[in-house]
Symmetry: C2
Subunit: 248 residues, 2 copies
């Protein structure tokens, strides 16, 4: 299982991903799911992955090796794409390329071609954007009405984001919301686990501001989990008991 969220606020982009993979509960490992592609001054791109690990890794490798552009005959990579839209289309084409290579064999083995991505960043000083890319290579874009996207085990952590995220919030408040959302998910699903990779990219900075791994026991995140739990307990206690019925 996996949980990744991406948050795009006025000030910039936050990407958060766990690192747990499992093939059954008895085969649990740690793999990076948040991949950062950065050429300072040209582009900052973050791609987080959910779904079948062999597929998502093949997509990442395909992007690194480059894809032939049938029109120009040139190799295209994230470094040759002139905009976020083109870069997102390239990720989509890489997904379809991997599907062409392995789709039939996976079907024969009764394995679903299950993969999804969050892809955010800024290219050549263009608009900072955040997309969710599906297994067919198609994608949707995050907008200011709902300035976050999630992939993987998204339900446990969604109520926290629904209530706290707004386009005008501070970038590090957005990171805080994302970490609380990750905490809620990890508590309810063993398939989502530490360490957690985070990326923060400020709009128009031309480089990432934070590219960090939160390891188990890291003091701030530990404190956040404790404080959030205590605050929920206090909030629960502060609400009056239901007035219905014949209470003792």
């Amino acid at each position: 299982m996996t949980y990744c969220c991406g948050i795009l606020v006025r000030d910039g982009l936050v990407m958060i991903a766990d690192t747990r993979t499992n093939a059954g509960l008895d085969n649990v490992s740690t793999f990076r799911k948040l991949h950062v592609f950065e050429e300072p001054g040209r582009h900052v791109l973050a791609l987080s992955t959910a779904g079948n690990l062999s597929i998502s890794q093949a997509v990442i490798s395909t992007l690194q090796e480059g894809l032939d552009n049938p029109e120009t005959g040139q190799k295209e990579t994230l470094s040759t794409c002139s905009s976020m839209f083109r870069a997102t289309q390239l990720v989509g084409r890489a997904v379809r390329h991997v599907y062409e290579l392995y789709g039939d064999a996976l079907k024969d083995a009764d394995v679903r071609f299950d993969v999804s991505f969050l892809f955010g960043g800024q290219v050549n000083g263009g608009r900072m954007r955040l997309f969710m890319i599906y297994s067919a290579g198609n994608f949707i874009e995050c907008t200011s009405d709902t300035p976050f996207l999630q992939i993987g085990e998204h339900k446990y952590g969604k109520p926290v984001l629904d209530r706290s995220i707004g386009f005008d919030m501070d970038l590090y408040d957005a990171l805080k919301s994302g970490l609380i959302s990750m905490d809620s998910t990890m508590r309810s699903n063993l398939g989502v686990g530490m360490p957690i990779d985070i990326l923060v990219a400020r709009r128009d900075a031309g480089h990432s501001e934070l590219n960090y791994r939160i390891e188990p026991g890291e003091p701030y995140f530990h404190d956040l989990r404790e404080r959030w739990s205590a605050a929920l307990r206090a909030a629960h206690t502060a609400i009056p008991r239901p007035p219905y019925g014949r209470q003792r």
Copy 2:
């Protein structure tokens, strides 16, 4: 969609169910999903349902009409069952009876035999118990380690229960937790909606203490939703910003 939860604490049982059903987003209705069977002094039983409405309603009607017991030749109903275990087995048999009647036809129509139940209560002064019954008629029992069970859209509301429910808590605090969990679910899934049916049965009372429908706009529940939102916002604000990165 549906969300129902059952909570079994030392003092008794709480059952909560929404009432929204939908066949697609364009066909939304209100149906009772929490069914109470009560003979004061003999039994208090609450059955909440999730899944295909035609199946769950057929199970309820089958229970009301009674099932032939092949061993005794007698009609068995919830009123003839001598214990919670027997009553739960009867619900399971009713599910299989409905499967025998409609299972093949549903399969032909490509409709999954999708149904599940929470079934809690007390019979003849025996142990108060809470079960989750699956579409095969098999069931699991709630224990004091994790004193709640959920059916339907269970993920959005689970973090709240994971953090707040304990076997020793007050019965109406358990109801409050369940209502907060219902609120979180309703905010994130349009397929779960008001009104909300609730049942509270105190252990060994021999009758239900509360059997109530919370209608939209009901002041206590409205206040609970507002207070919970405000408390989450305050909790979020009170947690320090992440110390990582070069913040402005």
